[in-house]
Amino acid sequence: MVKENLIKIDQEDKESIASSGFEFEESKRMATFFQQDDEPFLFHSLLEGVDILPMGELLNRFPQFYKLKGEAFKMLKKTLPEDINKGYFIRVKKNTVLELPIQACLFLKKANFKQKVHNLVVVEEGAKVYLITGCTASKSANEGFHLGISEFFIERGAYLNFTMIHSWKEDITVRPLSVALLEEGAHFVSNYVCLRPVKDIVMSPVAILKGEDAKASFNSLILGYKFSNQDIGSKAILRANKTQVEIVSRVVSLGGCITSRGYIKAEAKYVKGHLECRGLIINEKGRIYAVPELETEFRDVDLTHEAAIGKISKEEVEYLCARGMSFQEAQSIIVRGFMDVNILGLPSLLQQEIKNLEDKILNKGL
């Protein structure tokens, strides 16, 4: 696929795409996948250890991986809603350690379009990778819809840090569904960042830790605008002994309705799980509903949760106002601090990129 496809994208769309973490120059990326509506515009890898291609080509190129489609969902005894042939396939070969991230972007351009993708990510034994996926829409994509199915296969001792950045607009409906399977000693970090308005989103990604000593963490930073409805959760099933999970979310309602769920089920012994949800309500009309759930039939488990929601502390605002900041400035700096990108466990370069995106959005004021 040729890069000219990306060059043709107009400036306004480029800004939307960049706001989802996509880097056009690719100077800080190892591989790239870009899909507009249902058309893969660009996919290439700078490294032999990484295969990246559209799902439509998977059966011909790698039939052995095509068979994995739907396998992760079977572990949940769930069948997929549809057979979809769009989206990306990424495979990081055994023991390949990537210094820079892989990027993927799913972009909605046409009005009333229903974008449906099924992504497959395979991180082979001992490999280590950061994957940043941005999902965003053009101004022209009125009343758009995005269904994103993702399956992650993280093999023995492999590490996947998956950061998904949603940068939608007020009239887009989004339904992501994802399952990650973790083998022995695998480590999965799933980050979710949503700082722009969206009409309606319901998602609850699942990690099944089926190998001993596997570790997972889910971190979410969510900003809820007026008229947005966000029902966002994370689920972890600790199926093997000595597995661990941590689910952390920071949500801020500017008038929108946010449901922040977390569910940990211990199905084995000597496992550890912790859930933490913190929420701030800025606007009186906002609503936050925190639902932390823990479940087990075993005694030798350590499952904990904490949740706290409320308004911004008056003392903190006054403290900053006494330094000369206006009420709005103080509120904005506190919210930016609360939406701490440090929780995402990213390498410093990528962390700075996300922080810059966050600053750009939050500096405009709340």
Binding site: E318, L320, M325, D340
Partner: protein, 239 residues
């Protein structure tokens, strides 16, 4: 610089300060003594216009302007600065962020941070896991960078060891040596009198100001006779 006339303040419906009259001239440092709960912090927070400190009567005049109805940030921008006794912890907000907001000169920030042994704290969340002494140094650091004309210091030396009091006072003295800078300093222990040159002191008891005079003399009287005696003895010199 600051004039308080006939000030009555209530907090949560209770009258806390009564008939306060006070004046601090340009370049003047005033020491405010008083037992716990006497209303000293209430006075400082009222001067800065914090929520919940309601002026029932009277006026606060700063730089010839009545500031009763100004917001806290407007008062700060007019030249009032505070060193908090119990500053809040703010997650995710770095000391350096505040420093850069207060002062555009990066060299100056670095230099002052070094003088106050705060270089390692610049990248840390404000007041999170700071010791008592570190918190005080960070407060002084911020307020000096803010460069106010009137400093309001609420027990700057409490919880600070002797060595650090000396470091802090050195910085403070340098700032106050500029003849136009003024300060109102609340002290409990009086240690600060060994380091700061102040010509005026007053005592607050039960929400009232009882006397005004040479601060070391007042402090010695308090040490010898306690606050109650002090109140009786200087009754006649009521301001």
């Amino acid at each position: 610089m600051l004039q308080i006339k006939n000030l009555y303040v209530e907090v949560g419906g209770d009258l806390i300060l009564e008939d306060i009259n006070l004046s601090i001239d340009e370049g003047e440092v005033m020491i405010l003594f008083g037992p716990n709960g006497s209303g000293k912090t209430t006075l400082i927070k009222t001067i800065l216009g914090f929520e919940g400190y309601k002026i029932r009567r009277g006026e606060i005049i700063f730089k010839n302007k009545v500031i009763n109805n100004l917001s806290t940030s407007e008062r700060a921008n007019l030249g009032l600065g505070i060193m908090f006794q119990h500053p809040p912890k703010i997650y995710g907000v770095k000391l350096l962020q505040i420093a850069e907001y207060l002062c555009k000169d990066k060299e100056n920030i670095e230099k002052l941070a070094k003088n106050l042994s705060l270089k390692a704290h610049l990248s840390r969340d404000i007041n999170i896991d700071f010791s008592g002494g570190e918190m005080k140094r960070s407060e002084l650091f911020q307020v000096i960078l803010q460069n106010p004309d009137l400093l309001l210091l609420d027990e700057p030396e409490s919880g600070v060891d002797i060595e650090n009091i000396s470091i802090m006072c050195k910085v403070l003295n340098k700032f106050l040596s500029h003849r136009k800078k003024s300060a109102l300093i609340i002290t409990h222990t009086g240690y600060i009198l060994d380091y700061i040159e102040a010509k005026k002191g007053c005592v607050m008891i039960e929400g009232k100001l009882w006397c005004v005079g040479e601060p070391r003399r007042i402090f010695n009287t308090i040490k010898e006779r306690g606050y109650e005696k002090c109140k009786e003895c200087v009754w006649s010199r009521r301001i």
